[in-house]
């Protein structure tokens, strides 16, 4: 056992920068949310107003979660829990895969396999480190809430809920790492499961039943399929319940145990889904930069498109359904008719618009990921082989930016098409069906800005490009999604490219915003092409 602990400490040392950044980042987000809610919704009337508004709007329920009564703590949990849980889950899956499958793929596990420790020792150590990290995260989140003035018991329960979601994903990722042959595929699959957990909780919550006072909503059954949904059921600030957290911890134990069992029975480097042989010759296009970029990106892109399709389908199929549920509640119906022009049909549009906005975030993320792939190519020494050929660096960059832009467009188009298809299947006459693909594509220009900015980061500061690229997306999201809540100045909020996308179909298309974004993206890309010529290749 002491060997496992030593291994876990060694892994913690490797993560001495990464983990604190995750934990502190999540804590700061929680703290900022609580302070903002305390200032903006200080009195009960304001709290009741925002909760009622949310209960009447399935898009709100889908994105944020369930209103659970008044009180600053309850409103904070409703506003911030789902995002916090997603971040905790991602921290956990990346942590586990990094120390298990990635180590194995890169041959480090072989070196460790030669010391007198059980075969599954590194998996056990990663599980241990994951549990410790989430314990710490829970503590920090609770401390952040307390610092923001929330009641102590509720803050501790809320921290525990976030930590419990993280722990359950520690177990899940450990199993995924046994199934898939490479760190990249395991990371992708585990992150997709986090996305699915958020999506399924969103469906369950959007289909939820509002209470008579409109201050509470109880979720429908799909939320029970999602660890994030279970964490939400702990209701920290209203009536704390230990049972959901026990469910999550038990799931973590069972999954972790299964991963240990699989690892003990398999060869080093082997996986439940084995690595097949490839083709003997490159296919058409397999001898160009664009072909290579496409080849490297296509499976990740398929993952993003599946996510976008699920999102679109939820919008199209579920939109009419949830709005009908909401409208059947008499007091809500009145509220909606006051708030949303066009009544129920208008409400469907609001729901679809919100979900297409999320698809726009997916598109930006897919684009950034495609661009940052170049950094992996460079750091792992493959770009050295490529750039020894008589082809310019600008062309290499251009090919990758092109594939990244095409990925963003494809993700948006997929979401729009799935939403239109869903509306058709559910037979809702809103008139919006045909225009949903263009409505989704309205989010492409913002995605272009993000991916071009990631390209410039790669060209100018290669070693920082990965944190910079994702950090810019996180900053854009916080400014765009939380900016108003935090009461940030408008000019600061307007720095987020997301703020300049047209929220179609609710809003009309804004050509000025779209062209503005496109011009900024083109300028950033041009600057990147100029800068990349001027630096050393850096490992």
């Amino acid at each position: 056992m002491s060997g496992v602990v030593r291994l876990a400490l060694f892994q913690a040392r490797r993560d001495r920068v990464t983990l604190p950044v995750w934990i502190l980042g999540i804590t700061v987000l929680g703290f900022a949310t609580s302070s903002a809610v305390a200032t903006q919704f200080g009195d009960e009337a304001a709290q009741a107003a925002i909760l009622t508004l949310a209960a009447s709007n399935p898009a709100f329920l889908f994105l944020r979660g369930l209103p659970d009564g008044t009180g600053v703590g309850a409103v904070v949990f409703f506003q911030g829990y789902a995002f916090t849980a997603v971040l905790a889950a991602l921290m956990s899956t990346f942590l586990v895969v990094r120390h298990t499958r990635t180590d194995e793929e890169l041959g480090r596990a072989e070196l460790l396999g030669s010391v007198p420790l059980p075969r599954a020792a590194s998996v056990a150590a990663a599980l241990l480190l994951g549990a410790a990290a989430n314990l710490l995260l829970g503590g920090f989140v609770a401390a952040g809430f307390v610092a923001a003035g929330l009641p102590v018991p509720g803050a501790v329960w809320a921290g525990a809920a976030v930590g419990a979601v993280g722990v359950s994903f520690v177990g899940l990722a450990a199993v995924v790492a046994q199934v898939l042959p490479s760190g990249r595929s395991a990371n992708g699959a585990a992150a997709a499961l986090v996305g699915a957990a958020y999506l399924i909780r969103g469906i369950g919550d959007a289909l939820g039943t509002p209470a008579a006072d409109l201050l509470h909503v109880s979720s429908a059954w799909p939320s029970l399929l999602s660890p994030i949904g279970w964490g939400q059921r702990s209701r920290p600030f209203t009536s704390p319940d230990l049972f959901p957290l026990l469910v999550l911890s038990t799931a973590a134990l069972v999954l972790g145990g299964a991963a240990l069992l699989i690892r003990r029975r398999r060869d080093v480097g082997a996986s439940l889904l084995p690595q097949g042989d490839g083709r003997e010759r490159a296919g058409a296009g397999g001898t160009s930069f664009v072909g290579l970029a496409w080849r490297l990106q296509r499976s990740t892109l398929a993952g993003w498109c599946v996510g976008a399709a699920a999102l679109g389908a939820v919008a199209g199929v579920l939109g009419p359904l949830v709005t009908e549920t909401v409208s059947s509640v008499a007091p809500l119906k009145e509220l909606i008719s006051r708030l949303v022009p066009g009544g129920q049909a208008g409400l469907i549009d609001v729901f679809i618009t919100a979900l297409l906005g999320v698809a726009g975030v997916f598109a930006a993320a897919a684009g950034i990921q495609a661009v940052l792939r170049m950094r992996a190519e460079e750091a792992e020494g493959r770009s050295e082989l490529l750039l020894a050929a008589p082809v310019s660096r600008a062309r290499w960059l251009g090919a990758n930016l092109f594939i990244a832009a095409a990925s963003a467009a494809l993700v948006c188009a997929t979401a729009g098409a799935a939403a239109a298809l869903g509306l058709g299947v559910s037979g809702t006459p809103t008139g919006a069906g045909g225009s949903l693909v263009p409505a989704a594509l309205a989010h492409v220009p913002a995605a272009l800005v993000f991916l071009a900015a990631a390209g410039l980061a790669f060209a100018a500061a290669p070693r920082l490009s990965i944190p910079l690229g994702w950090g810019m997306l996180a900053a854009g999201l916080v400014l765009g999604e939380f900016g108003e809540l935090f009461g940030l100045p408008v000019w600061l909020q307007d720095l987020s490219p997301f703020r300049h996308s047209s929220a179609m179909p609710v809003e009309p298309f804004d050509p000025v915003g779209a062209w503005g974004l496109a011009v900024v993206a083109a300028a950033l890309a041009g600057l990147a092409a100029y800068s990349i010529r001027r630096r050393d290749l850096t490992a």
Partner: protein, 304 residues
Amino acid sequence: MNAATQSVIETLGLVKDFGRTRALDGLDLSVAAGEIHGFLGPNGAGKSTTLRVLLGLIRPTSGTARVFGLDPWADPVATHRDIAYVPGDVSLWPNLSGGEAIDLLTGLRGGADGTLRRELIEEFELDPRKKARTYSKGNRQKVALIAAFARPARLYLLDEPSAGLDPLMDAVFRRQIDRVSRDGATVLLSSHILSEVEQLCDRITIIRSGTAVETGTLGELRHLKRTHFRVTGLAEPARLAALPGTHGISIDGTAAEFDADAADLGAVLAGIAEPGISGLTVAPPSLESLFLRHYSDRNGSGVK
């Protein structure tokens, strides 16, 4: 200047700093057209850095580098047109097969010679359908070598190309070097193994701590080719110092250690022989010991 004596590679006072580390410290290197040039040095001497500068992948801090008369940093595309490169540490795309990687790398240079590609895959005994993730170090090396040799080039830059190859594959590699050399190509081959360079190369440059410390033909560097002797059980070890071609003798009781020039080996062997000898160790000249003996006094540190 005619083509035979024209320099394909010419560097003057090349300096490259990485932060506070000086990787190249005024390196002069000259490689003539058509020659096989050995670039010899211990780990960390600056061999790979030099090759990267020659490819324009990194920019020298000062000094000039010319390949085919062009500045590789200013005009990498034109410089690379006739270069084939094999890096020291070959990293491939884990989810691409070896065959796909070969087609990609040759495709970027204008496409492989189909017959050559087939023959090379056969000779190097590579299974081109396997995903690169499953390849060993030697197999990754083969992929890079096949990609380099499957399309004719005027200059081959090879960074420790035979590391990871077994003796059979090493022989295949040597045949390829012979072939491209017969076709008139220039080869710059970096290595830390003296014997490898000896067998293949016309001229040699020895680099240490970023500086060229010796350069010349094998004959001119004859003084580097010394065999190391250790003899025990000698009645009068000091007499060995009088033998022709011995250098750096050290005596410890009845044991003696010294180096001998290749030309005088016969005389040395005859001179050693005496009835009481209890042990004799003869080691071929290793680069590391040469560095320790010949250069440890220059620059002080830098030798492990």
